[in-house]
Symmetry: C2
Subunit: 198 residues, 2 copies
């Protein structure tokens, strides 16, 4: 005996989602099966709606509902600073700090030869086009502080510096509120290396 | 800056799902945003479809696509044995063993006073109605071997035995392929207690 075909189909679709294995898919399917039809419909509609209304911003490649994304459409932003991030979620993380008032450029990934992702799979060409056209004086590279992110940062730095534009990298160091004792050596080494006068 | 409203709405709906926190919801939302529209539509449709087509079997309370569920609709099944389980997934697990050819009764939960679930919240009344009407001679209680499942098993046993129907309980013991050394004491104790002649 198998699940009824509509249940089997739902399980199959749920298992395609990242981080969802057969057990999680079953838990989610059971939840959906027992939920109010209204709740389930809202979930299905939210999925359909997001695909219908959201596209990539043609300027920075963030997710956008209008022509441009919310940041690019905001005329109050500082157009001389451009922050390069891997994914839209990184942009959201930086916006939450309220520390950056410039524009963004979303690479949609990081260089990772092992995953077959080279510069051509990222939005690096589009970054160079923007830098040629716009009034940018500083590129803040905020890719992740891991191997792929650092490789990508280095690659971008080598391309952008010759254009006479300042390239900066977000700092690595101890998390605020963190504990020296529990920091890994690499992070602690970086924190020492990047020490500043008080 | 917040997410565009359709993205925020999707995140909110995803976070309602069991075991999905804000981070998982974000990962799922990003996957959906980057997926083919076809893939996303299939997921949304599978959710809508399952709500439209699946209901509870009026006889055993398993999920059903037709009038009765697949098991109840199967005239080849042995109508003298009834296996009582907590959830439809338990029914599927038992069906996979090919060891049971009778019918089922899905309680839709187990007695758990701490969660406010008493006998009245389960399909126990419906079980008794079935036992009065049908030709059942044995009730196999296959609730989970945990506190709630054992409590439920005991409760059902006390109700059913006076009807002159045999009540059996699935065995607890060492998992097949398991290792004595790693078995917990309670399981090992049960395995000893339930030892059989060879």
């Amino acid at each position: 005996m198998r699940y009824a075909p509509p249940i089997a189909r739902l399980l199959e679709e749920l298992e395609r989602l990242p981080g969802i294995g057969p057990k999680s898919a079953q838990r989610l399917a059971y939840y959906i099966l027992r939920a109010d039809t209204g709740d389930a419909t809202r979930l299905a509609d939210a999925i359909t709606e997001v695909k219908r209304t959201i596209h990539f911003c043609p300027q920075c490649f963030n997710f956008a509902e209008g022509d441009l994304c919310e940041v690019c459409a905001d005329v109050e932003r500082d157009t001389t600073a451009l922050c390069v991030v891997e994914e839209p979620r990184d942009l959201v993380a930086i916006e939450r700090t309220n520390e950056f008032r410039g524009l963004y450029h979303v690479l949609q990934g990081a260089i990772s030869p092992i995953d077959g992702i080279g510069p051509d799979q990222l939005r690096i060409r589009e970054l160079l086009v923007r830098l040629a056209d716009e009034s940018v004086t500083e590129v803040v590279v905020a890719t992740n502080p891991n191997v792929e992110g650092e490789t990508t940062a280095l690659y971008i730095s080598r391309l952008v510096k010759p254009l006479g534009i300042r390239v900066t990298r977000i700092a690595s160091g101890l998390p605020v509120g963190g504990d020296l004792e529990y920091a890994d050596e690499v992070t602690l080494g970086r924190a020492l290396e990047a020490r500043r006068e008080m």
